[in-house]
């Protein structure tokens, strides 16, 4: 069959998402209020349907031999997307409500729903899904841009503050710069190999004598540095704190999770071009350096912040560092020769799948913590009984939540403990996975740096948790009554527990099999033979 049609057959979920995005525009701008109010539902149902379609659609043969990475990342993106949607529902409405008093007097709920917000939301998630499915450098570039471009608009329109627009502008210009950097890197990779298709590039690299040529390495280095922007890794991290601070908190949660997932999916694919057996030295040094710097800078700077959104921004930078450690550890072919199912300890030592697992664990905890922050509102200056988003949420604002809203405090506690890596929560399993893979790959130093950084990070995570429980209640704080927000946060809490326990196995198998070459099932079929022979001899 036509390879283009084959490819299209795997793109059903994306097509559903695009249709949903258009539908959101239609319903969001419809004259009837009821239609407009239904827009978040349209977005949610679209993602649910796309999820089902992902599970049903055929798994294509990956040019780099990553068996299940495409469905894994798509499901991850959709799962996080659904949670984030629940956090983001109502952002446009609240925008209207918090306008100045004159317009608030004329406030009409019918004006409130602005469909384009949800439309951009879906488009960005689609970008992540396309990133995972990329088999070509051009495709990869376009998919990454599709992830980023809607987020600029989402930031700018999320709050009626100058800070939001400033954030959007900063994010946009730096994003464009980083896109130029990694596009330049892609161009050099094309120059070094003569191909843009991943499989062909990998073959060309394998054919190079004495390892990848210096042009190829240079291209890789530029591509990695450019992608560091997406994952907010040093030296491309400087924007993160400012942008996170300026955007509305739900959108910040989106920024902390979605572009990062796309960035790591892209990094796995780009590094997969040269492979991990072994990783070329310059790239390994580069990644180790970035990982160490990112963790340390992120944690140290988070420690000294007082604005909680900045704290969580730097925490997200630090987690990129941990994830990079898993990425540099990677996997060796013999490590992942077979599917991990039914093999005791079979998944340990696979750095890439550790990254995939940790993305989920990190995403859950981050969404949970931002959801709690999003619930914290200040008294509105002009509207009686109304509330507005804080310009800066400090430790004082979350102090003593426990006394007024124990559920939020509990959610925050679990999120913080998961981020710090406390057993038996998801973050702990993720950290064990990452550290185990760095040991396996021989980067003992990285393991030690992770451990030291965990200790530093306990400083601010614990401070947040303790402030929630032991602080003096701040009377000026309002709590947003948004059931979807709480539900979303509660789901992340449940997930943090589930992924720290036996339920994590399913995800670990999936994440491990994501990088198992597809020939594996054939090998796995050979294994049952001894048991057959045994049964015969028994008879």
């Amino acid at each position: 069959m036509n390879p283009f049609l084959d490819k299209l057959a795997t793109l059903w979920p994306e097509m559903i998402m695009l249709t949903g995005a258009v539908l959101c525009l239609v319903t969001g701008l419809a004259p009837q209020v009821a239609w407009r109010k239904a827009t978040p539902w349209v977005a949610g149902i679209t993602m649910a349907v796309a999820w089902i379609a992902t599970l049903l659609s055929p798994v294509e043969t990956h040019p780099l031999g990553f068996g299940g990475i495409v469905p894994y990342v798509k499901c991850l993106a959709l799962a996080m997307g659904l949670l984030l949607l629940m956090v983001n529902v109502g952002v446009p409405e609240r925008l209207r409500q918090s306008l100045s008093s004159e317009s608030a007097a004329k406030f009409n709920p019918g004006d409130a729903v602005r469909g384009e917000f949800y439309s951009f939301f879906l488009l960005s998630i689609t970008g992540v899904m396309l990133t995972a499915g990329a088999t070509d450098l051009v495709w990869l570039f376009l998919a990454l841009e599709l992830t980023s471009l809607p987020t600029y608009v989402m930031i700018a329109t999320s709050r009626d503050r100058l800070a939001a627009q400033e954030s959007a502008i900063k994010y946009f210009f730096l994003g464009a710069l980083s896109a130029a950097v990694f596009l330049y890197g892609f161009a050099l990779i094309y120059g070094a190999t003569g191909f843009t298709e991943f499989g062909q590039i990998a073959e060309a690299v394998a054919a190079m004598e004495g390892g990848p040529s210096s042009l190829m390495i240079l291209g890789m280095v530029l591509a990695i540095l450019g992608l560091c922007f997406k994952i907010a890794a040093v030296p491309m991290h400087v924007y993160a704190a400012d942008v996170y601070e300026g955007a509305a908190t739900p959108v910040t949660a989106f920024l902390a999770v979605v572009p990062k997932t796309a960035g790591f999916a892209a990094l796995i694919l780009v590094i997969g071009l040269v492979g991990w057996n072994p990783l070329p030295e310059p790239i390994a040094y580069l990644l180790v350096g970035i990982a160490v710097l990112t963790m340390t800078v992120g944690n140290v700077l988070a420690f000294i912040q007082t604005n909680l959104k900045r704290v969580l921004a730097y925490s997200s930078i630090a987690h990129s560092g941990y994830l990079l450690a898993g990425l540099v550890a990677g996997f060796t072919t013999e490590n992942v020769a077979t599917s991990s199912e039914n093999v005791v300890g079979g998944a340990m030592g696979n750095g890439v799948s550790a990254v995939l697992f940790y993305l989920l664990a990190y995403g859950m905890a981050t969404v949970g913590s931002f959801a709690v922050l999003a619930c914290i509102r200040a008294k509105h200056p002009t509207i009686e009984g109304g509330d507005t988003e804080h310009d800066t949420i400090t430790y004082d604002d979350i102090a003593g939540i426990w006394w007024k809203n124990p559920v939020l405090a509990g959610i925050m506690l679990v999120a913080m403990l998961s981020l710090v890596g406390m057993p038996p929560l998801a973050g702990f399993v993720g950290k064990v996975y990452l550290i185990g893979s760095t040991f396996t790959a021989g980067y003992t130093i990285l393991a030690i740096v992770i451990v030291i950084n965990s200790a530093i990070s306990a400083g601010y995570y614990l401070r947040i948790a303790m402030t929630c429980f032991f602080g003096q209640t701040n009377e000026k704080v309002h709590y947003l009554k948004a059931p979807t927000l709480t539900v979303s946060a509660a789901i992340t809490t449940a997930a943090a527990f589930a992924l720290g326990g036996y339920a994590a196995n399913g995800i670990i198998i999936k994440s491990h099999d994501a990088v198992v070459p597809q020939s594996a099932p054939a090998e796995a079929q050979v294994e049952p033979q001894p048991s057959l022979e045994e049964s015969r001899s028994d008879a």
């Binding site: 991990s340 005791v344 300890g345 079979g346 998944a347 340990m348 030592g349 403990l417 710090v420 890596g421 406390m422 057993p423 038996p424 702990f428 399993v429 950290k431 064990v432 996975y433 550290i435 185990g436 040991f439 396996t440 003992t444 393991a447 030690i448 992770i450 451990v451 030291i452 965990s454 200790a455 306990a458 400083g459 614990l462 401070r463 303790m466 429980f469 032991f470 326990g501 036996y502 994590a504 196995n505 670990i508 198998i509 491990h512």
Partner: protein, 604 residues
């Protein structure tokens, strides 16, 4: 009942009871109801422990019994594996024994968030039990690490004036130590993977392959383990978090902290660190001994100048833990030191728990613990004074009480320690710590109990005080208070007078865990005493008996054609030697031993 269920229930019950407190029943928020609930549930846990004691086969204490396995993450080779042996069963017993006592004692002190208080107490109990019964090193780590959270809340929510700082310092200190433990564990697991090709976190499996690590690796691994365990124990100079945590914690927190949480450190050292890195343990032992002795003496001197009674007891814990570390790293031939150290864990848990409870009662009455503000209580509160003095004497080590057995055994082990590890000089120095302990404890007792009656200034004077205590029916104590400290005092006396069952069940476990270190010490220091194991075989090759040779006469007969001298000499290096027959070769062994030692000295 299936034996696996017994130990699982022991672990799950406290968690279930804690979950019960989360039920939306408004009555549970009331002080009395929550208190009765908690007292009942903790007694059920204690009954469960009785079942465990009953099901345990006491003739084979060194075998892990009542084992259960629950899959956790098979993909990582991780399972929740638990079971009890001769040491852990006693520690589990201590944990469940102190729990109802703590609940009983905390009725008056805690006056808000009753649910949260009892919830975290139950969770803490579960964590402690989990740590003591873990057979999987990551399960051990998970419980060890998670025990930080309940105590953080007990201190942070229910503590005294400076509680936030105390909670923070406690958490940071312990957390920093234990992340290094995690790195060490994963390194050993990775080493095990290299050796065997599979990921497995079972303690026994890791110990087996861990011993194959090079000495440098072992040193790093032991250092990372010590980072967690020395802080938890706490070993001087890593003890600075403890006095703060104790002074700010509520009584319940203090009792659990001193009585149980501190025990995790030495237990982890014996169960995991020492057998896993025997060569490093042999190398580190003298240095750790120096720290331990310094800790004993320095903190005893610090105790002497304390005016806060609770701080005094807290520092005395550090001092007493020095004895534990000494005994643990003595590695003497008969394992007297390490067995004594394990016994001392229980003894100290009881005595210090009792002391903290007594001080808590005092605090309930006067809202102060300042030694300068109170005195002469023996006349007004004779019952309280009786218990306080009893526990103080148990802590000091009065013969007939449990502290004496522990101190005596650890010091005896230290004195018997092979050359180059510890020795009589350490024992003598530690003994001076015992004298200091007597001084500061009796000073504290003297201040509080004897002399003219003195009450804190801001307590309404004598008449009110008398009215207050007259309501407490029993010579200055209420029945509840007597029920709180009574069981502990009985346990102190019983264990002091009849320690044999506990010691004899602990000894085989301790021996199994220190055997590898002793072989390493023999290699290092060439001490023949610590080393040779003579196994006797009958003609069919069955092992008849196996004994470690110290100065005993063994009837064995050299078999023709075997080079006895060479084999014995080799045995000094490797650890076992086998013969069958009836000739006395002890003279021969002594001869070879002297020769072997001379050779080593020449080589050095």
């Amino acid at each position: 009942m299936d034996p696996a269920w017994i130990i699982s229930l022991q672990l799950y019950l406290p968690v279930l009871f804690a979950a019960g407190l989360l039920l939306p029943i408004p009555a549970l928020s009331e002080r009395k109801v929550a208190w009765i609930y908690s007292a009942t549930t903790s007694c059920i846990s204690l009954l469960m422990t009785c079942v465990v004691f009953w099901a345990f086969d006491w003739s084979q204490p060194h075998v892990m019994q009542l084992s259960a396995e629950v899959p956790w993450l098979p993909q990582f080779g991780l399972t929740f594996q638990f079971g009890v042996d001769g040491v852990s069963i006693w520690l589990v017993g201590l944990a469940t024994f102190l729990m109802p006592v703590v609940v009983l004692g905390s009725l008056l002190e805690v006056d808000h968030d009753m649910r949260a208080f009892h919830f975290w107490l139950h969770i803490l109990e579960a964590c402690l039990i989990g740590t003591f019964i873990a057979r999987d090193v990551l399960m051990f780590y998970a419980c060890f690490e998670f025990s930080l959270i309940p105590l953080l809340f007990l201190i942070g929510m229910f503590g005294h004036k400076n509680k936030l700082k105390a909670a923070k310092v406690y958490f940071y200190y312990s957390f920093t130590g234990s992340v290094f433990l995690l790195a060490g564990i994963l390194y050993v697991a990775w080493f095990h993977f290299n050796q065997t090709g599979e990921w497995n976190f079972e303690i026994v499996a890791l110990i087996e392959s861990g011993q194959a690590m090079s000495v440098t690796e072992q040193c790093w691994v032991l250092a990372s383990f010590l980072a967690a365990f020395a802080i938890k124990t706490p070993m001087w100079p890593f003890h600075t978090w403890l006095p703060l945590a104790h002074t700010e914690a509520p009584t319940a927190g203090s009792v659990d902290l001193a009585g149980l949480v501190l025990k995790l450190g030495p237990y982890g050292l014996l169960r995991i660190a020492i057998p896993l890195a025997p060569a490093a343990a042999a190398l580190f032992a003298p240095y750790l001994g120096v720290f331990a002795v310094l800790g004993v003496i320095v903190t005893a001197l610090i105790c002497w100048v304390q005016t806060d009674a609770k701080k005094l007891i807290a520092y005395s814990s550090v001092s007493h833990m020095g004895f534990v570390m000494l005994g643990l790293f003595a590695f003497d031939g008969g394992d007297i030191g390490a067995t004594g150290a394990m016994y001392y864990l229980i003894a100290h848990g009881l005595a210090s728990g009792g002391l903290f409870l007594c001080l808590g009662m005092l605090y309930d009455r006067f809202h102060t613990r300042d030694l300068r503000e109170m005195g002469g209580l023996a006349k007004e509160m004779p019952m309280w004074s009786f218990f306080f003095i009893l526990f103080a004497l148990a802590a000091v080590g009065l013969p007939g009480l449990n502290g004496f057995v522990g101190e005596f055994l650890t010091m005896m082990g230290t004195a018997n320690s092979p050359d180059g590890v510890l020795g009589w000089s350490f024992a003598v120095a530690a003994a001076s710590g015992v004298i200091l302990a007597a001084i500061y404890m009796l000073y504290c007792v003297g201040r509080l109990c004897f002399g003219p009656l003195k009450l804190p200034e801001y307590v309404p004077q004598k008449e009110v005080f008398e009215a207050a205590i007259s309501k407490r029916t029993f010579h200055g104590m209420s029945r509840r208070e007597v029920m709180t400290v009574g069981p502990i005092s009985v346990a102190c006396v019983v264990l002091g007078l009849y320690p044999t069952p506990m010691l004899s069940s602990m000894e085989p476990v301790v021996q199994a865990n220190t055997a590898a270190v002793k072989a390493e010490i023999a290699k290092l220091h060439g001490s023949p005493e610590a080393e040779v194991e003579v196994a006797e075989f009958d003609t069919s090759g069955m092992e008849v008996s196996k004994q470690r040779l110290y100065n005993m006469d063994l009837m064995v007969e050299p078999i023709a054609g075997r080079d006895v001298r060479a084999e014995i000499k080799q045995a000094f290096g490797t650890g076992s030697i086998s013969y069958s027959g009836s000739a006395d070769i002890s003279g021969l062994i002594a001869e070879v031993a002297a020769e072997y030692q001379a050779e080593r000295e020449a080589a050095q």
